[in-house]
């Protein structure tokens, strides 16, 4: 199962836990498993069946495409963070 590092402002959903585990082969499945375990995650991270534009996802230290289909491995570490725009 992948390890999800919970952003500080979402730790209220996990009872203060910084790290939780979730099952899924891609980012979308991970979010669905988080929602099953900790209701409220989906609303924070998803809209229109995809990751919110304001949210970026890092899997194993690599910034992906930002979408639900980004692959997640069995031992992956997943971070949700604010999306960044450059100049």
């Amino acid at each position: 199962m992948a390890t999800v590092v919970v952003p500080a402002q979402l730790r209220r959903l996990t009872g203060g836990k910084e790290r939780v585990v979730a099952r899924g082969r891609n980012v979308g499945q991970i979010i669905e498993d988080l929602e099953r375990q900790f209701p409220g995650f989906r609303a924070q991270l998803m809209e229109n069946d995809d990751v919110k534009p304001s949210v970026a996802v890092s899997v194993d230290g690599e910034m992906g495409t930002g979408g639900v289909l980004d692959p997640v491995g069995e031992a992956s570490e997943v971070f949700f963070l604010p999306a960044i725009a450059g100049g």
Binding site: K52, S58, E62, L81, I84, A85, G86, G87
Partner: protein, 763 residues
Amino acid sequence: MAASTNGYRVIGTRPIRHDGVDKVTGRAKYGADYAFPGMLHGKVLRSPHAHAIIKSIKVDKALALPGVKAVVTSADLPELADKMEQAGEQALNLAQLSQNILARNKVLYDGHAIAAVAATSPHIAEEALRLIEVEYELLPPVMTVEDAMKPGAPILLPKLRNKDEGPDKPTNVATHIQFKRGDVNDGFKSADYTIEREFKTAMVHQGYIEPHNAVGIYNSDGHATIYCSTQGTFVVRALSAAVLGMPEGHIKVVPAEIGGGFGGKTTIYLEPLSVLLSKKTGAPVKLVMSRAEVLRGSGPTSGSTIRCKMGCTKAGKLVAAQIWMAYEAGGFPGSPVGAGAMTIVAPYDIPNILIDAYDVVVNRPKTAAYRAPGATNAAMASESVVDELAEKCGIDPCDFRIMNGAKEGTPQTAGPPYRRIGYIETVQAIKNSPHYKSKLEGPNRGRGVATGFWFNVGLQSSSIVNLHTDGTASVVIGSVDIGGTRAAQAMIVAEVLGLDINDVRPLVADTDSIGHTDVTGGSRTAFATGWATYDAAQDVVRQLKERAARLWEKKPEEVTFSNGVLSAQGEGVKPMTVKEIASRLARTGGPVTGRATVNARGVGPGFAAALIDVEVDPDTGKVQILRATVAQDVGKAIHPSYVEGQMQGGTAQGIGWALNEEYFYDDKGNLRNFGLLDYRMPTCLDLPLIETAIVEVPTPGHPLGVRGVGEVSIVPPPAAIANAIYRATGVRMTECPMSPPKVLKAMLKKRGGAENQAAAAGR
């Protein structure tokens, strides 16, 4: 310092840019150069008030003026839902975007657009603006984050809410972001030295030379073409379509040459107005901002207030950082405070951090991106405090940074560990520079060091490589060329295909002629578009191998390609150059075109370090830059001259931000310095030749190891200058700009304090 070619034939060399001749001879076509038969000229009416309700707008008198063909207001635009949409690299609230283009019910800053006129000449259009009657109900302006966050502050956006304050409380705080690692209280307990200071930076503008412009042509078939200066044609298309309520595919955006953007041209202002006015009049309509409009009505970057507390042990190990930061978003939410929060201690490995960041609306222009948005404000604070801690510990400022510097595996502020990065190497490059090793002598002189971080982004790019029958090639991209993009893309094609750089012609295409490509911004173009171009050129190689295999009756995998020569083992094989096989394309299957698209993953962040010597006039407080060196990790420099240009350009803008630039508002919220005489950007007389040290730590996974280079060099200069001023005068500056009055005031305060102490001692 020279970049290496590292076995490359073309990459790492310095050819003359393909667009150079057109640019130096004046043939290059910028947005304002476009003209069409029957073209009308548009002008925009802007609010003279910082904060007011629009009671009514009467346009009858303006419409009656001979030569006036149309007037538009927000009533001519669809009212959009209050919803976030992805637009390239940024998420935008389209309703607010529309209200920024033409105010609806309320004006939120001096310069906010209210109406637009199309007329047969610019002068008639200007005259018509004076005939539009707007009735306002004035509201108190809210100009600072401190005032905006006070209980009972006038509310700019009645519907605005945030999660902290709940759904029932109107607020000016759009967002609160928090990052937390470890326990800062425990961290500070273990610190031997703790420094806490408050910093302020002023709102500043990108200062691109070319004002915003657009020519819109609406056809009776419902399609429109926009010619404009932009960093992203596809973002102009998407946003204009949304604001106008048109299908995206009904708009074609043609990129003009761009006279600077620095992030400020990643959104829209005039583009939908040109289409709207064209639709109303049936004629092409051109709008060009004046400099005053650019300063009053486009998107500068945020001013900020940052309270930064950091602690370290006597041995110089950083143990805790606690930061409170609030950024001015302008009239609508969307400051880069999130990026500021994630960059402020990004260069360091600190076990305990707590960062609270606030995006705050104020009656100033809606901010737009500016080179490493949010990071320069942040580094002014953290890099000043780090300098002070290094001094407390008696450790050289470079060594202190190297001791605490982030490396592969260090957690970033938001948590993910860094992959291979070049922070330590970048600081080392400064330490090893002739500048650092030189002595700085003379009174009132000081030397300062600071460093900076920027994420860089990946995103989507498309590229097409056409091989022509004479063995030359063209590369077609959707990335607007701001800092040498054409040359870099052509060099990648020349490298892969073994061609001479002058045999590859680069072309920046319109939105109908190339696949989706995100903005030239976020330091992404050489990285992502370069990746697509590399893959497209490899697609050409793959096809050439197939053609050669056909000629030699071999399998494609038996054909090799090296340095532009196709070959294979066996009898009857006469190796062929690309030029030779190009002439035989017709008989081997037809034209060869390579194509590739990427949504680039695995982007590598960039680090920069600045070393700056200053002399401070003790009588006036004027700071003169004596010498400046910038080091930057660029992954791999495709064209070192243009990489150095980015490093120098960012440093020059950082120096301007540090010393002189600021939006200056009066107590009514009116901008008082809306020209370049009063908005003081640095000129060549203010700057020495900026020395550069290119550091090349390749980005893992990228075929050429490229990192973004366009932004991070703007980050360190303000803090480096503040640190240099301290060494010159003994005064710690905590406010940008460090303009003569502010520096003089700080010096006088220090002298006054010293004199008082002396007087007290004398008593």
